[in-house]
Amino acid sequence: MNTIIIISVLPIVLLYLGLYKAQKALLPVTVIGLLAALGFAICQWTSKDTAEPLYTGMLLFNNFSVVFSSVTIISTILILLLSKGYFERISRHTAEYYAIILFSLTGIIVMVSFNNLVMLFIGIEIMSVSLYILAGIKKSDFASNEAALKYFLMGAFSTGFLLFGMALLYGSSGSFNIDTIREYVINHPHIDPMFYTGIALIIVGLCFKVGAAPFHFWTPDVYEGAPTLITAFMSTVVKTAGFAAFLRLFSACFQPLSDFWTPIILVITIITLFIGNITALYQQSFKRMLAFSSISHAGYLLFAIVSLGAASGNSVFVYATAYSIASIIAFGGLILVQQQGGSDNFESFNGLGKKNPFLAFVLTVAMLSLAGIPLTAGFIGKFFMFSGAVSRYHIGLVIIAVINAIISIFYYFRVIIAMYFRTDERAELTVPVYYKVVFALSALATILIGVYPDLIARFI
């Protein structure tokens, strides 16, 4: 529980630091605080998974929560390390960036450890409200403002769906508590139609939050308009948390009713895969390509819900980890290219292989991982997802996913082709030390997980 306390106190400390003009201390304090939170989270891990609900059943910090808190905290640390010097360029009030990102992280920790629908809602709202601000934090930038407004309007709308769904669940089961709802589902042979409506509305709300089609329309514009680092945060940490909450709710409460919601999620998955991949194919901007590819990755992550079972948690964890670290490299590379003269088009990566072999190499590892090529973490993630789906006899779905994996090669390899096989007159990019550390760690982790997935695959 210390994790949540630390992460919610930390931003207040940071705001005070900002008030007293201690700009230099911001990053170290944040990182140390997050490491402490991470340490406390890991200490909660027990081999038998015997955690008890806390605060009159509001939160349950079990292994699932430990694992997902850890991966979101680690991703946040990596992203914040990339932010050295980044926020200063945008505005003078850097403390508020750190603080808002950490507030958002607080919401995320609540989302992955809720044991009551109210906590789920509060977690999602803490996270979302922070994100609305973050998306529009370039106050004088038109695209950033548009992103924030769009995100806020759509987000508020979807929150309505979510809340309405929860109310219907409450109406039929008489409780917000996860355990009570589960007992209601198991003990009642004839479930109230109101309950089913509630599930459907919750699916809509959650699919919006994780950016699954057809509720994805906000994603490309918001991702493009927001500052790149915030985009990185949204497409990795936030997405991971969204899926963790999705999975936690469905595996805890709705598993016996899978006949009802599996077809819905199945259709959503297929649409998401195709829309994400095919649209990504036509993008000229690397950043927009990443936005659409993140939609398609949401499709792969939905596999875990479609084939809900004991192994689903592990699959989401491995996939989300692989996807997050690869995306962090991709966004980091994009920031460097953008800052030093280039646009965010594929062409600005031309000839990078010659001038910056290290940067080109880590970006290649990231692209291979996102494309799901063996010996990278991305492949292990896809393998877990495919295995889960085949085990539930969703062979058709897997074949569609295979076709999509093939399509995705085209746009991921465009980056590799631009970097190595196209030549361009360009100056060497300077890669700051922080970036080098983050890139090296992420690339190493990608390959290590790809070669020996048991490193992380046995925690849930």
């Binding site: 192994a311 592990n314 291979l368 090529i373 063996p374 010996l375 492949f379 393998f383 877990f384 495919f386 295995s387 085949v390 085990s391 062979i395 897997v398 074949i399 295979v402 994996a405 093939i406 090669i409 085209f410 390899f413 082709i417 190595y420 096989f421 196209r422 020996y452 997935p453 048991d454 695959a457 046995r458």
Partner: protein
């Protein structure tokens, strides 16, 4: 002593080589690949040619999925391990005259690819097999795309997507087999024991068939091959044609047919017919080619078609013929591409029409070319003969459909005649006749070129005169596998 040393040494070697500077890297690569060959020969000397799997390594890898790092060598694998470890140093030798930019990366990728292929040839675990399969693909993609010809970007991405698509379907097949296996492992021996019904086996058969047919390549999945072979740098072409396509053939013998015997039995005739169509089709196209390298690429499709037909006949003669022909085809095709590499490096052209009379100015080169060419054509007493003979016998013995075997064998037998026609015509146009201003300056082979040609020619002749030791290595393993799986056909 386990096979792991053979699998991990090239990875270490690849990393070391990749970090070396131009000039040293190629020597290091040669040194490492010769060391690999020595290790393989030590394995060979300790190898007992019975049907058992030897030098086995078996350690848990991904525990939650029952995946083991499990590999070993039996007679069938031994031939392919030999093929890989003999050819890689030879291929590195053939590139000695080239000055590649960023040499360390080039040779590092070749060694990494060797590791991937050795994993494929020795894996006893489906997951490991798949990982090796893809691990061999990534380096060759980069080799072709970085050091290839003009159209390389478009052609290599086509090649990559084609083969990647095939292998993903295979992955689905492997996962399906795993989920059906009683104790939930990827162990190949478990897969062999399973008895699924015909419908499921048919699906598994097609999932594997796609991957292997694309890799070999088999008609009509061959469209990536001529372009890729032509555009790739010569070293890459040799890796592809000499070793990598054997991954497809080996996969068919080890993974496709035994894992889905009934599915295979159902489509056996169709598969054989595809193989034989490939023989005739590729031969006719080869006949019309103007670019020498492309001609060799098509002739390779023809040879592979025959090998595939021999395997799909699934009898001892056919599979044994495929085993020895894989080795010999590897040697010959590397030789042929080396010949064209020499010609195009000296004269900057591969157009057959522009050449002629080279034999007059370069007699040593002419002798080398002739020997390799005769091996390719399959003249008795060269290495190509025994394999083609056994393969045709295998096709002839295929007795499921009456008279079909006769037709198939007769049509497949055309490969020898066709091959002789286009190859000898090629030799006549390139080497004989009068020299023209271009070819008059052709310098004869010397140094490493001469050494490489000598080694290849020696292999062509020695294996042609006395193939028995090679046949003996795989005989017991092939016999057992063919009988064990063949007995399931009648169920």
């Amino acid at each position: 002593m386990t096979v792991s040393i053979l699998l991990f040494l090239p990875i270490v070697a690849a990393v070391i080589t990749a970090l070396l500077k131009n000039g040293i890297a190629k020597h290091a690569a040669l040194f490492f690949s010769v060391a690999q060959l020595v290790i393989a020969l030590i394995f060979l000397s300790k190898f007992v040619p019975d049907a058992s799997t030897q030098f086995v390594i078996d350690v848990p890898w991904i525990s939650s999925f029952g995946i083991y790092f499990s590999a070993g060598i039996d007679g069938i694998s031994m031939i392919l391990v030999l093929l890989t470890t003999v050819l890689v140093p030879l291929i590195i030798l053939t590139t000695y005259q080239h000055q590649y930019k960023n040499e360390g990366a080039f040779y590092g990728l070749i060694l990494f690819m060797q590791a991937g292929m050795l994993v494929v040839f020795t894996a006893l675990d489906g997951f490991l097999f798949y990982v090796g399969w893809e691990a061999a693909l990534i380096p060759i993609y980069f080799i072709c795309a970085l050091w290839g010809g003009e159209n390389r970007i478009r052609i290599t991405i086509k090649f990559f997507i084609y083969t990647f698509a095939g292998s993903l379907f295979m992955l689905v097949g492997i996962i399906y087999l795993y989920l059906q296996s009683p104790d939930k492992t990827f162990d190949i021996h478990n897969f062999y024991k399973m008895t699924l019904d015909v419908k499921h086996q048919s699906w598994i058969f097609w999932a594997f068939f796609l991957a292997f047919a694309i890799k070999m390549p088999l008609f009509p999945f061959h469209t990536w091959q001529p372009d890729t072979y032509t555009e790739a740098p010569s070293g890459g072409t040799m890796m592809l044609s000499g070793i990598m396509l054997k991954m497809g053939i080996y996969g068919a013998i080890r993974w496709m047919i035994p894992n889905a015997p009934l599915g295979f039995y159902h489509f056996q005739a169709l598969a054989m017919i595809l193989g034989v169509i490939g023989v005739v089709y590729a031969s006719i196209i080869a006949f019309k080619q103007k670019d020498g390298k492309r001609l060799v690429a098509y002739s390779s499709i023809a040879h592979v078609g025959l090998i595939a037909a021999g395997i799909f006949a699934w009898n001892i003669a056919g599979v044994q013929g495929a085993m020895i022909q894989m080795l010999n085809h590897g040697i010959n095709v590397v030789g042929m591409f080396f010949i064209w590499d020499i010609i195009s490096r000296r004269l900057n052209t591969r157009e057959i029409d522009q050449l002629g009379g080279i034999a007059k100015v370069a007699p040593k080169f002419a002798i080398g070319f002739l020997i390799i060419l005769l091996g390719t054509v399959g003249l008795p007493l060269t290495n190509g003969f025994i394999g083609e003979f056994l393969l045709l016998k295998g096709v002839f013995d295929f007795s499921v459909l009456h008279y079909v075997n006769l037709v198939l064998a007769a049509v497949a037998g055309l490969t020898i005649i066709f091959g002789a026609v286009y190859m000898l015509r090629l030799y006549k146009n390139v080497m004989q006749g009068e020299t023209n201003p271009l070819t008059a300056t052709f310098a004869d082979v010397s140094g490493t070129e001469k050494l490489t040609l000598c080694i290849i020619c020696a292999l062509v002749i020695v294996l042609g005169i006395y193939p028995q030791p090679i046949l003996h290595i795989s005989e017991a393993a092939v016999t057992q596998l063919v009988n064990q799986i063949g007995s399931k056909f009648t169920m």
